[in-house]
């Protein structure tokens, strides 16, 4: 009795570390344990022989290097387009900047393979602008790089634009007094936004290196595809999949080290909103060129999406939708909402700890980032190794496993958004509550969450849309008969009716747009 009371008292007095511990245990269970189990699998039976066989094949390493090159090319192209575009859309005197940024950014919330499908409906056989050369280019290594770069460039553009808006206006004004807009942009603004640029490069590289849908659709062999084929295809060999996942994990650790060095907690500070307005940078005689560039960036993503709508309408895909869609849209939404809610709960606790530099918070933030940069195939294989056992079918055999996998993979998205929000609020709000007698849970519920409600809603919304667009994680783990919409489209793509696939893609796009519209309405509504 006395021991129980003592424990309860200790718990009350140390609510913050206990809550952080609980959040850390959950995050470790979904993100760290699978990676450890992956290592454990190699010690079983013939696993080491399989590993030696898989990793000694020259083709394995050729494909690995080629995939690294693929992700690097996508990242370089995204930076080449996204950096100037972020500067133009974030700070320059270009008309309709906000609309252009929204249009340009939307594709990042759509599964990239749908954009590939859309471009196929533009340039491919029977497409709106079909030609042999166009089709050949599309179904090639440069074609796949271009499609994926167009899908992921908004990551760079948005982070750079937001980062630029967070720079202290006086730094910019001090530069403008002694230099023109061009020198100010090149010498002051872009270097100041380097942590945001580094973060953007990391996100793009991670997503490109994980990407399965675009390369598989455009017939470009990539390393994660080889892992995937060992788990569900004709080359079924799970032992080899575990071994093949190891080099991918090594890349993930390298990316984490890069992130810690180049961005880390500094990215919390650069992703805020400035406190006062400064005049737009004047482009002078470069303005017409800039307008054409931003207009192209805004309108280009519309082309593949429009092609999907046209093809679905022409082939009566929409009228056949009910026969093919099943519960997949609902499954997508359900999985995404479950995962995003779990991500939000973790983000409130861990994001706060990371933003305030609490012991353990920075380490858990690093773990979330590691799970994000780890290719989905590695995390998926780890989750299979951990959860696929008879006693755990209550989780593995249901959509809970997809939600847990999403929470692991996209936890960093919510966590970082929440951390940015917390780090921008005055620490004095919570100190005033603490000194007013409130323990951590009460401070969290009554002060921190209400004050940061918008930031936390943004974290939840981003987690929802990232889960909705996922193919790579879900395709490895979805329980029989409960596939999400992305998986349904991906599996029908090979041999389903083209117009129905296009119509299903339109549903996916509409669903994402609706979630973003509702979320944005909540985020930007004025207080009564």
């Amino acid at each position: 009795m006395a021991a129980g009371l003592g424990w309860a008292l200790a718990l009350r007095r140390r609510e913050e570390p206990f809550l952080l511990l609980a959040a850390g245990v959950v995050l470790a269970a979904v993100a760290l344990v699978p990676l450890m189990f992956l290592g454990g699998e190699l010690g079983k039976g013939d696993a080491l022989r399989h590993a030696a066989h898989a990793l000694s094949a020259p083709r394995t390493w050729a494909l690995f290097v080629s995939s690294l090159g693929f992700a690097t090319a996508v990242t370089v192209l995204c930076l080449a387009i996204g950096l100037p575009l972020g500067l133009l859309l974030g700070r320059a005197d270009v008309p309709l900047r906000r609309v252009a940024l929204w249009l340009h950014a939307f594709p990042v919330f759509v599964p990239p393979f749908l954009l590939a499908l859309g471009w196929f409906h533009v340039f491919g056989r029977g497409g709106l602008a079909a030609s042999t050369l166009g089709a050949r280019l599309l179904f090639s290594w440069p074609g796949a790089v271009a499609v994926l770069a167009l899908a992921l460039t908004p990551v760079v553009t948005s982070l750079v634009a937001v980062g630029l808006q967070a720079i202290d206006p006086s730094l910019e004004e001090a530069a403008l007094l002694v230099a023109g807009p061009r020198r100010t942009a090149a010498g002051i603004l872009l270097p100041l936004v380097r942590p945001a640029t580094a973060l953007a490069a990391l996100v793009v590289f991670s997503l490109a290196f994980s990407e399965l849908g675009v390369p598989m659709f455009l017939r470009v062999p990539v390393y994660p595809g080889m892992v995937f084929s060992r788990l569900g295809g004709v080359d079924y060999a799970p032992g080899e999949a575990f071994a093949l996942a190891l080099p991918l994990f090594a890349v993930a650790v390298g990316l984490l080290l890069f992130e810690r060095r180049a961005a880390g907690r500094r990215s919390f500070a650069v992703l805020g909103l400035r406190s006062r307005e400064v005049p737009d940078l004047r482009l002078g005689h470069w303005r017409p060129v800039a307008i054409v560039f931003t207009a192209a960036a805004a309108l280009l993503p519309v082309a593949p999406l429009a092609a999907l709508v046209i093809d679905a309408a022409r082939g009566h895909g929409f009228s056949e939708l009910a026969q093919w869609i099943g519960a997949s849209a609902w499954n997508s939404l359900f999985d995404a909402l479950m995962a995003a809610t779990l991500v939000l709960a973790l983000s409130v606790v861990i994001g706060h700890a990371a933003a305030r530099g609490r012991r353990g918070g920075v380490g858990l933030d690093a773990l979330a980032v590691l799970a994000f940069v780890t290719p989905a195939s590695v995390l998926g294989v780890g989750l299979i190794a951990t959860w696929n056992r008879p006693s755990l079918q209550g989780v593995y055999g249901t959509s809970a496993i997809v939600a847990l996998a999403f929470a692991a993979r996209y936890g960093a998205v919510g966590l970082r958004t929440a951390a940015v929000s917390f780090s921008q609020g005055s620490e004095h709000y919570e100190e005033a509550a603490a000194i007013g007698g409130a323990r951590f849970l009460r401070r969290l519920g009554r002060i921190l969450v209400p004050i940061h409600a918008r930031g936390l809603l943004a974290a939840w919304l981003l987690a929802v849309v990232f889960c909705l667009r996922d193919l790579e994680t879900a395709v490895l783990l979805y329980p029989a008969g409960q596939e999400p919409l992305t998986v349904r489209i991906f599996t029908l793509e090979a041999n389903g009716p083209g117009s129905v696939v296009a119509a299903l893609s339109c549903v996916q796009v509409a669903m994402t747009a609706a979630v973003l519209a509702v979320g944005s309405a909540l985020l930007f509504r004025r207080k009564a």
């Binding site: 004095h428 709000y429 509550a433 000194i435 007013g436 004050i451």
Partner: protein
């Protein structure tokens, strides 16, 4: 007279530099001590040590008879110290009304609802804010927000009140008016207060005694007028010049 706040040999290191260097200080109950120093002298850090937000590397802090901090360890968390603080940026919670800001601490102490509302009404009447209970901080003027901040601190009837340069951004007229109000309120309640400022006139106006902090060390403790006998000290000359 019992001691309300006591620091013994408090040293705080930041990146190898001593922000506070062997600071010892005793503030008797009901006294207001002004803590005067230039930017970076360590005065806000000292306040945060008393509040429990910073754990010193060396030294101990007592509030009344209770040991609240000892070398590198927070014994009593800020929420258990029964002190109140008025922050430089006031830190009024923007999502709560004036009433909500004042009620938050009382609710945590499980003060019955009727008593809570009576105490809030009384303190708001005292600071001249009756009728503004339902306003949010964003709907108040700068002076009104200052009054809410002091009311929020005093409504809890704390063991001590800590002020972190709350008047630093105000014009002279409003500053004089609020200093007079602070002095009256602290006097009426016989509250112990530690008032951090970089303005010698504020220090003189409010403090029974003044401690001057320079590079983390207390270089003077007593009445501010006593500095007139120390013209050899550069900081004394500056302070006396500021006082005119």
């Amino acid at each position: 007279m019992s001691t309300s706040i006591q620091l013994d040999g408090v040293t705080v290191l930041r990146q190898g530099r001593k922000v506070l260097d062997d600071v010892s200080l005793a503030i008797p109950a009901s006294e207001t001590l002004s803590l005067l120093g230039s930017s970076g002298s360590g005065k806000t850090t000292l306040l945060r040590v008393v509040a429990g937000f910073v754990a010193p590397h060396l030294g101990v802090v007592r509030l009344g008879d209770a040991l609240v901090t000892e070398r590198g360890r927070i014994v009593l968390a800020p929420e258990e110290r029964d002190v109140a603080m008025v922050f430089q940026d006031l830190a009024l919670w923007p999502h709560l009304t004036v009433h909500g800001n004042l009620a938050f601490g009382l609710d945590g102490k499980k003060v019955p609802r009727t008593e809570r509302d009576d105490r809030i009404a009384a303190i708001l009447a005292r600071v001249g804010l009756s009728g503004k209970e339902r306003r949010h901080p964003g709907e108040l003027s700068g002076g009104e927000r200052q009054r809410v901040a002091i009311a929020r601190a005093l409504v809890l009837d704390p063991r001590a009140v800590l002020f972190d340069e709350p008047l630093s951004n105000l014009d002279v007229g409003l500053k004089q008016e609020l200093l007079a109000l602070f002095r009256e309120l602290l006097g009426e309640r016989r509250a112990t207060a530690l008032y951090v400022t970089h303005d010698p006139r504020e220090a003189q106006a409010l403090g029974d005694r003044t401690a001057v902090l320079d590079e983390g060390r207390i270089v003077h403790l007593g009445r501010i007028d006593d500095l007139r006998s120390r013209p050899d000290l550069p900081f004394a000359r500056m302070i006396l010049e500021a006082l005119g």
